[in-house]
């Protein structure tokens, strides 16, 4: 009995771990989509954030040896998020000021991120693959004490190793809650939804449409940036070329699947996290790895089809 409970708790914990970057990015995609300026560049934003988080945290330590080491990952985190926001500001600028088609601009930014990170990786680290040689720090984990007598609950709350979940895992849950409240209960959240729903009506009602869209895109940059930072300073503690491996697009699918609501998107992101966990679990069996790798995209397409046919019935 307790063994099953521990197994389920372990599974839930690993799903949360795998889903965290997708949750962040999907929430970012959701805000931008609701504001009528869908951010397709989530993948690139995550990649850039993951890269700069690692590089800045390492180089901050080298340039300012006086800094306490515990501070370095946080400096890296801020730098990563800032870089992602800078990229989304670029996207917002090209779309809102120069009328560039936002989807094409987003795709271009994905290419820019893929190229720029590898280019800088070669230039700074001298390696085309990863920053393994840099020995970069990770953000801390949060341990919740007092549950050591209940193994199942302890596993759920503190992970398999009982060391506690990564601080950004909690931040992802918090972000989902905060975003749902923001969109439903605040005036600015209503503005964002109004702008996406009917731009002309929002303009007529005196809502500063352009500013709202800027805010939404910057917010999506912030969230996607946190997802990227988690990848390189939590999920792994290094940066790898192309390390987002399609999570930004899974996040986009989660937005569509979640019927453009904060909790729906959150649930869809958890589903995609679960499908990647399942894929790694199956990897231990004697199934060709190619079939295993097909699983997450197949789950995504199936989920979109199911969501679509439900929408049709209604």
């Amino acid at each position: 009995m307790t063994l099953t409970a521990i197994f389920i708790a372990t599974l839930a914990a690993s799903i949360l771990r795998a889903a965290t970057p997708i949750i962040f990015a999907a929430l970012g995609g959701l805000v931008s989509d609701l504001a009528g300026a869908i951010n397709v560049a989530l993948e690139g934003l995550m990649l850039v954030a993951a890269f700069f988080a690692v590089i800045v945290s390492v180089y901050a330590g080298r340039w300012f040896p006086g800094l306490p080491p515990a501070l370095l990952p946080w400096i890296g985190c801020i730098a990563g998020v800032m870089s992602a926001m800078l990229m989304s500001a670029l996207l917002a600028f090209f779309h809102l000021e120069w009328r560039g088609e936002i989807i094409v601009c987003g795709i271009a930014l994905n290419l820019l991120a893929a190229g720029l990170t590898v280019f800088l990786l070669v230039t700074i680290v001298g390696d085309k693959g990863s920053t393994a040689s840099l020995n970069s720090p990770a953000l801390p984990t949060l341990h919740i004490p007092g549950f050591s007598s209940m193994p199942a609950l302890d596993t759920l709350l503190n992970g398999e190793s009982r060391q506690g979940h990564h601080v950004l895992c909690y931040a992802a849950l918090l972000a989902a809650f905060a975003l749902a409240t923001f969109l439903e209960r605040t005036r600015y959240g209503t503005w964002i939804r109004a702008v996406g729903e009917n731009r002309e009506a929002a303009l007529t009602a005196g809502i500063p449409v352009k500013r709202v869209q800027y805010v939404a895109l910057l917010l999506s940059g912030l969230l996607a940036g946190l997802g990227g930072v988690y990848l390189s300073m939590g999920y792994l503690t290094l940066f790898q070329a192309e390390m987002t491996s399609g999570r930004g697009f899974l996040a986009l699918a989660a937005v569509f699947l979640g019927a453009r609501g904060a909790w729906g998107t959150f649930a869809a992101a958890l589903l995609f996290g679960a499908s990647t966990v399942l894929a790694t679990q199956l990897g231990a069996l004697h199934i060709p790895t190619q079939l295993v790798y097909m699983l997450p995209p197949l789950v995504t397409i199936t989920a979109l089809v199911i969501a679509g046919s439900r929408r049709k019935l209604r």
Partner: protein, 382 residues
Amino acid sequence: MSSLFFDNANAQSGRREALRLTIAIGAALAIGFCITLAVSDEPIRAYLALLTGALPEFEWSHAQGWQVHRIVRFGSVIEDAITLSFLGLAILIPFCARQFSLGADGQMFLSALAAAAVSLWIGGPWYLVLPAALLAALTIGFLWGLIPGLLKARFGANEIVTTLMLNLIAVQIYRLIITEVLRDPHAGMIATPTLPDSALIPILVERTNVSVMLFAVPFAAFAAWLFLMRTTWGYEIRVVGEAPDFARQTGMPVARAMILSMAIGGLFAALAGLHISNALLKRLPVDLTPGIGFDGLVVALLARNDPKNVPLTACLYAYLRVGAQAMERTADVSREVVLVIQAFIILFVVAEGLFAGWYCVSPAGIWQRWRRTGKDVLEARQ
């Protein structure tokens, strides 16, 4: 985009577009140069390698007369340009229906696989093998292109997500079949056996892989143009792309146009697949790099929805790509800088308002803007 119904505006907007594209490419190259300047010890040399590295070298000496060097490198420009032309067309046609289908990668992988498999299985004389391989590639490309179209029309599934997911699946299918079914046990790497000679597309230039597929490029571009501009289906695709509300209200088969645009795109990606398997590589390795479909995206965007421009923009882009490889070899700048340049080319090309100020001071520009909305100009003058 807006010149669908006004043919007389075509020539003028064409000239303006050409100017815009030149400025966009120039600006992107300038950004690339700034980046090179920041990281390189010899930026000028690196950038010269990027811009001229793809060219062949001509040398004259009394003893041997004219000699051409680096023909292999220039050959690879043409090889790339052929692949990119097909991929550009594969992305351009869905674009005309405003479908952001990025599935060219997957379609190309599976078509290349189909062409190679058929070539290996059938054997026999070339007039039997090549049409069969072509047919197999086209069928697979068409069907794989059909899927995202159907998913979108039937279930409203966003085509960016589905095509990218289908790309992932296609690459895995490709790897699975090559590892498990078509693998050549005697090869040192995981790859299919070398295709029989009769299945290879005849080579035109010695020491390169420039094949007669070169002649197929203008035909393909012309066929795409003919399809879009002179057939009912093509007309429907363009109207759905440029005026979706109009198309819906006049009862046009919007769903069919959408599906068809993606499937036809798959046909052109299939040609790229055939070119890769039966002309360039001659055997398919398991680790064929995905991602070339995005280069096709740049080609399609630069061509501004006109298939006739595709061969030209493909040449331009292939030239830049090969130049980047030359730069990486001769200087201390990695070739990924070309991805950055590529991204900025896309950004500058689609940013319609960016260079608008440059021609709105000309009488033609003012007249154009006046016709669109009179208010705009008045506001701009104030």
